[in-house]
Subunit: 228 residues, 2 copies
Amino acid sequence: MFVQPIETTSNQPIVDWRDFAPCAAPLFACAPEVVGTSFNYVRDEEIYGEREDTQFIYKVISGAVRTSKIMRDGRRQIGRFYLPGEFFGLELGKQHNLSAEAVADSKIFLFKRRQIEAMAQRNMEAAREMWLMTADHLRHAEDHLLLLGRKTALERLAAFLIEMDMSHGNCGLFELPMSRRDIADYLGLTLETVSRGFSELQKKQALELDGARHVVLRNRAFLGAMGA
Amino acid sequence: MFVQPIETTSNQPIVDWRDFAPCAAPLFACAPEVVGTSFNYVRDEEIYGEREDTQFIYKVISGAVRTSKIMRDGRRQIGRFYLPGEFFGLELGKQHNLSAEAVADSKIFLFKRRQIEAMAQRNMEAAREMWLMTADHLRHAEDHLLLLGRKTALERLAAFLIEMDMSHGNCGLFELPMSRRDIADYLGLTLETVSRGFSELQKKQALELDGARHVVLRNRAFLGAMGA
DNA sequence: AAAACCATCCGGATTTATACGTAGGGGAAT
DNA sequence: ATTCCCCTACGTATAAATCCGGATGGTTTT
């Protein structure tokens, strides 16, 4: 068992109006009356904390976000990464079950929960869309259970690379916004194993690394089969 | 990495009208017009398969159910156990993401999806309740991610025992409906490690086993702290 | 009833995968 | 240029998986 140091984050309130930016956007095409406000977060800044009351629903505009749980001794599990265009923080309960932090400097839209709830009362289509997103998050979590419970280190890495590639449009070429430690905490490994795994996949001609974070997939079929 | 043999199950259609029982019950108190039909499943019988089209929503009446994913080489991850009173199989998508099997001989209520969908259109309260259940399943899965990714074998067992105790009313005394292998596949361990862990927890005076499946918790505080 | 069978469980020895600790290198930021 | 992270490399440590043998209990067969 290993212990990781916890980075302390500026524990400021979620909504700091100094970050206010005067742009806004509708939540869904089908509910144009619900508009969000944009905020900027710096790398590693907390967006909301575990067990914190739910006030908003969030959408990534640029950058990247991770949701995570941390144990008292520092062990951490990242639930999921969110890239531009994706929603997060839409637990239906009163409190968040995971915390959310910016992986890199990020711009995020915040939508007021009260507005969302009111909309869901009126607009059945929008309510269904919210439910769909929750169900999609559940599906992702269930897939990740198999990865964490039963897959080998290399299989986890392959699955991760394929997932990243998918969310970048399957072009086999992308920039990782997160550190090796983040990847490790997402895949239930140590950062060293992640590093070793990347090296091994390079040796197998499955991918190419240009610097630490620029990835070129060389054998998508191989990676897909390995990540299963 | 280990490989487990897959038990072949009778691949009969989900709905076998020979199992028909003439009892029925409403889905929710708030939607008495939606009634379910009871079916019986024997131990290890498949209720629905991964990637199978979603036709019903299910409620456990007696017995127990597991949902799981299986890899081609036999590695298996159980997503969750469902005990009497709990709903399962309510993915919103067109297809199930996990398969479901009876852990023991079980009686299950089936509710037609078309009825559910129609109800959700009319009854906002019921629609919200469905969404709440999906969100609760998501919360459970997220908690389980931390367990699978970062907890030790003993911590996993402690968390499992506390979870089982909770769903039996926190009385510190219950019967496990599932085998050691099922527990192992739920916790991402081998059945040997599960067995050893139980022995160790007995040595620590944290619990008592009467036979393999009858559990008496002797130190709930200790187990709770360990399972964190 | 006795025997056979089967599934399940337990314990020890061994192996293996992965975590851990330390050291060193490289790139970006100050 | 220097500092500071972050990443990589390698040797070691260890938790858990694997492999073995044997005990137990329930069910079916004779």
